[in-house]
Symmetry: D2
Subunit: 205 residues, 4 copies
Amino acid sequence: MDSLERLASLFEKFPGIGPRQAERFVQYLLRGGSALRRELAKTIEELSGAVERCSECMRFFASLKKSATPVCTICADKDRDAKLLAIVASNADLNALERSHTYRGRYFVLGGTISLASEKTNHLRMRELLSSIPARARNGLREIILALPANPEGDATAVRLREELAPLSKESKFAITSLGRGLSTGSELEYADPDTIKNALAGRK
Amino acid sequence: MDSLERLASLFEKFPGIGPRQAERFVQYLLRGGSALRRELAKTIEELSGAVERCSECMRFFASLKKSATPVCTICADKDRDAKLLAIVASNADLNALERSHTYRGRYFVLGGTISLASEKTNHLRMRELLSSIPARARNGLREIILALPANPEGDATAVRLREELAPLSKESKFAITSLGRGLSTGSELEYADPDTIKNALAGRK
Amino acid sequence: MDSLERLASLFEKFPGIGPRQAERFVQYLLRGGSALRRELAKTIEELSGAVERCSECMRFFASLKKSATPVCTICADKDRDAKLLAIVASNADLNALERSHTYRGRYFVLGGTISLASEKTNHLRMRELLSSIPARARNGLREIILALPANPEGDATAVRLREELAPLSKESKFAITSLGRGLSTGSELEYADPDTIKNALAGRK
Amino acid sequence: MDSLERLASLFEKFPGIGPRQAERFVQYLLRGGSALRRELAKTIEELSGAVERCSECMRFFASLKKSATPVCTICADKDRDAKLLAIVASNADLNALERSHTYRGRYFVLGGTISLASEKTNHLRMRELLSSIPARARNGLREIILALPANPEGDATAVRLREELAPLSKESKFAITSLGRGLSTGSELEYADPDTIKNALAGRK
């Protein structure tokens, strides 16, 4: 395998990329010239030095200086409300919440959802979450929002989280909520599935 | 224009049907033979005799006997809860609510939504709705549910309905609610629009 | 089942129509009023009286007067070239050829293609085709064009037709051709399948 | 802009990649760990050293040793037929021809097609192509195949190439052909555009 093929096979492992598009990426970099390639390679390598996992929310972030307990910009922001903690499955879901410009609380990135096949949770940061709660409770935590996907995996994860969090919730008197279900913006009743309509009726106000 | 072309042009006016599919419908009826064609023509003609508009919810229904004030099976059903009235834009939306097997109240079919371009409401059955409320209130009405599409037209219609219904609501002490907004079943946060996430956060519980 | 449901179930059997769209057709006819319904029903019924199958090309056409051997407008047109005969699978394919405004020969509608599962041909008008050839040959036929779909069923049908037509072709000295294969208009090589590229190379000129 | 954002913005310039997917690529590399990142960066950088543009067909290829006149594996292959020269717009189109396993001649990558807006050709390797023809003619060239996309830009490019190549073709007695047009594999007549049907009729055999 020559370097063109090796690069194509690396791109093929990128999320959502097939062999045809991987090949196009290689052609794009070839046409782009050595300055573009050098910049891309350098920026990729820099991640290793510059990126840390936040010790509070567990997301990756670009850190300027090394630290034993790195803290990301959101977690370091004193204006973010410590009374609210949103548990999200992934960084991408955290970004989606940020894009809505409505949530001003804090986050914890669980690292995925429970797979219905195995029901395993060992790939999730359950323990890290649970051990972080006492300090958060002392810091004023009033509500944990389970901001999980509205699918069976997300629901199973919510059930497990509620079980695990129940004793702490009772002890420290914080609520556990889930995101509202119902009609998503732009949707028409005619094409909504029965479960969504059921949720929209239950959540009417 | 011969009868094949005339039939194709009638089918072309059906909702969602283009010239190609209209032509296929004609071919289907040709291949289907004269018995199929006779049955279809007869069933279409029968609508005029057998179908009435319900004088209560305003939807079309198949009526067995003529009446000055025809009443459909849902409105005639004593088990349907007269305390709840869902206002829907169309018959198709009413069917969607029925398919969810959750709603046991009554309906009113408004006949559309406000067009944002004209803001006109004269194609809607506003007057019929308003004039029906006093009798419904005497009959125990406690809540009107605005079961409208989650789009700008549906929202504009809800605003107008709330304005028009406000005095009656105050007088007769019924609530006015709207369907819950949030994540629709199966949706992932990552791909949800900011407005849906905002609603999901606001509607958390 | 009332007349609304009966009509919906008839529309559901239309090609490409599901239960949701069938319901919308019924609503469309209800809203359209009795004049629209009467016109549609009448036009559908008229097909039985006004439509005949052409005794030459076998397609359906709107006929003004009854005849033992009805002949459609294309087959009756003296300007259409009797030297060319295009065998098409369906009326829709015949229409596609007419829309291209290039073909000025005659047609025979076979009524389908060979199913690869059963390899049966009894639903096709093979016999009618073969028995029509001698008269066409006397009338100057020089070429039969197999204008069949470019898929395995079309290919299997072409193989069978060539076998069946071979003796007649030899005797009456007419050619048997198939439509050209290659890049369809608008297509890019990059996304073309290997078989299409093979045909495009073989058919270069 | 931190290194995460800088990397996302570099990925956003990749062909067919939007901001959402660029962000997912960054997350993928973060999760993948520093070994994956190092390998990817290294392979990208290696392109500059290892990749050359073939001096004959003009495509990029992975070269093991530096040369003033680098020659790719296809052009160096003595078994490839020097009588045939396929002119393709891009490397991706060359790959498509190779995937069909039918073409055994040689290639020239033009570097694009004529833009209909500007009709400019200065981004194309016209001059390189023309100056290479005499040597190819001496080497036995008998046919130039214009293997261009079946769209207006491809057609305009073919017209221009035929004009430019005409004197050389006359002098050196090689043919100029274009890929066959017609039904692409799998397509049905009913949905074929008129131009494709016209080509399929013209190309029948």
